[in-house]
């Protein structure tokens, strides 16, 4: 199996490349991204290409002629780039990479990263959607995910190859940049005053494991992948020993502006997570991919806070207090 990992520079892409390298049945691993991989890779080939640079991207993919694609070139708004750039990069990366992989002629299977944002939130929708729930995204990131899924489904239809979409809960880890991670780590965090909706997070390693299993097994269809259990804004904020600031209606405008200034932009899908909820039924993926010992949502939250503090350099005298 020759696996192309798009978005290999991200935490997810790097991790799944490491997992693929360790498997004897994977003949070669190659990937590209606009940033270099996060960790050392043993035998994977990496090329630094901006996903919007069509010609270089297509040339690279055609040369590699992958039999499988693990598509992680789906960029979350406000994680590493502005919402606009993220949407554009995702679209270009999906169209160009999948198109070139098909043209190379050896493609046998595709797995794309999607998100549980595709279900959207609002009245009349299932509270805990399973994979059959209607796809009506209510945020730009949700719509981007849906477009990626639709594009991949088109490839599946036209070329008759199995395509799987992994609808991941918001991926978060202590070291991976994510807008929800940044928001929860502010000293004071805005939370809804009259609601406390549950949300689920997914650890980077579990997301990578799910991708590995989906690629190796040649999975087909949609799968929700979520961290077991849930957390709620009030609870998560207190778990991190932060101050919850109750916010109502128009107060959210102020809260978003303040958070933005404090270095934590709040894109619509993160605002929706905090104000509505963000959960899904992950039973199918657990069964199909035999995902045992997934890291529960509350441990992902705790992990966020374990690495949270950026201690500024102390003056003389304070150093002893810090190390004590």
């Amino acid at each position: 199996m020759r696996v192309l990992v798009t978005g290999m520079g991200g935490h997810l892409g790097t991790r799944v490349a490491q997992f693929l390298e360790a498997r004897p049945d994977v003949e070669a691993v190659a990937g590209f991204d606009f940033v270099p991989p996060r960790r050392r890779l043993q035998r994977a080939t990496f090329k630094r290409v901006d996903p919007r640079d069509r010609d270089r991207l297509v040339e690279f993919v055609l040369d590699f002629a992958p039999t499988a694609v693990a598509h992680f070139g789906v960029y979350e708004p406000a994680a590493r780039m502005s919402p606009r750039a993220a949407g554009l990069s995702t679209e270009e990366c999906t169209v160009n990479a999948l198109g070139a992989a098909v043209r190379a002629g050896a493609l046998e299977r595709v797995v794309v990263r999607s998100g549980i944002e595709v279900y959207g939130r609002g009245p009349g929708r299932p509270e805990v959607p399973d994979e059959q729930a209607p796809l009506e995204p209510t945020t730009p990131f949700g719509r981007t995910c849906l477009e990626v899924e639709a594009h991949a489904a088109g490839v599946a239809r036209r070329h008759d190859i199995p395509v799987a979409a992994l609808r991941l809960a918001p991926v978060s880890g202590s070291r991976a940049p994510s807008p929800i991670g940044r928001l929860l780590r502010l000293p004071a965090v805005p939370v809804p005053a009259f609601a406390d909706p549950p949300f689920q997070l997914l650890h980077t390693d579990d997301a990578a494991t799910a991708m590995l299993e989906a690629v190796v097994r040649g999975a087909e269809g949609a799968f929700n992948v979520v961290g077991p259990g849930a957390a709620s804004p009030w609870q998560a904020v207190r778990l991190g020993n932060r101050i919850p600031v109750p916010v109502v209606g128009p107060g959210w405008l102020v809260a978003r502006t303040v958070a933005d200034v404090a270095g934590s932009p709040v894109p619509p899908h993160v605002l929706e997570l905090v104000r509505a909820d963000r959960v899904a039924d992950g039973a199918r993926a657990i069964e199909e991919f035999e995902l045992r010992d997934m890291i529960p949502t509350q441990e992902v939250v705790a992990d966020l806070y374990a690495w949270a503090s950026v201690t500024s350099l102390p003056g003389s005298g304070a150093a002893e207090a810090q190390t004590a």
Partner: protein, 231 residues
């Protein structure tokens, strides 16, 4: 059948069993847990710690006689379908009956969708009335109760939730008859809760078959009517 039941064991729940009642801690201890955020939350918005803390003292005051309580499952998911008269009290009575016989928590289907009330009832283990959500709760291994009506309150219609039974096919369904008793705490005659034989679709039916769901609904209704005539 329900892979999440096994997975659930790994969830950090601060010593709180997601399924079974526990003796609640002291008020100070409970308050401290709340302030520190050291409590479990499940994906349906439920908060088992708060559920025990708030619901148990209320429910324990209800006088209820349970007939055939041994039929209630000690483990795993099941759907109870109960008749209602005035509504409102029935979810509490059912919870009392389930506590008395199994020491398990009960999830109530069809809590009202009103902003603050919805948050609160969800925390206490309620879920909305959508069939897909009820199926998700059962897949997660919970004991769940639904009314033999469109909702627990409002119009008095005896209508079997056919859509619900179609969506949750494969999980055991228990028809439960409730005969009204005195209001909470009053020394009048007790409530009577009678648990019927569990019903299941015949082996080999495809999940969600509308015809089988209709037959199942019929069976549930008949069983409840028969039990009501008995009590």
């Amino acid at each position: 059948m329900s892979p999440t039941v096994a997975a659930r064991a790994a969830i950090p729940n601060y010593g709180i069993d997601a399924d079974r009642l526990l003796g609640s801690d002291s008020l100070v201890g409970a308050l401290r847990r709340r302030i520190d955020g050291r409590y479990a939350v499940d994906e349906f918005g439920g908060d088992p710690h708060l559920q025990d803390l708030v619901l148990n003292p209320v429910v324990d005051r209800i006088r209820v006689v349970v007939r055939h309580g041994d039929r209630l499952p000690r483990l795993g998911p099941a759907l109870l379908v109960a008749n209602r008269r005035l509504g409102f009290a029935e979810p509490f009575v059912l919870t009392a009956a389930v506590h008395q016989r199994t020491r398990r928590r009960l999830r109530i289907v069809g809590v009202p969708d009103i902003p603050l009330l919805s948050t609160l009832t969800h925390k206490l283990g309620g879920i909305g009335s959508r069939a897909a959500d009820v199926a998700a709760v059962l897949r997660a291994g919970h004991l769940t109760a639904a009314p033999l009506a469109p909702s627990w309150w409002g119009v008095r219609v005896t209508e079997v939730p056919r859509e619900l039974l179609a969506a949750t096919m494969g999980f055991p369904v228990f028809p439960v008859a409730i005969r009204a008793g005195g209001p909470i705490g009053l020394w009048l005659r007790p409530w009577v809760v009678s648990v019927g034989e569990p019903l299941a679709p015949p082996a080999g039916t495809s999940l969600g078959d509308p015809l089988v769901a209709a037959e199942l609904s019929e069976a549930v209704q008949q069983s409840i009517a028969a039990q009501l005539a008995e009590t």
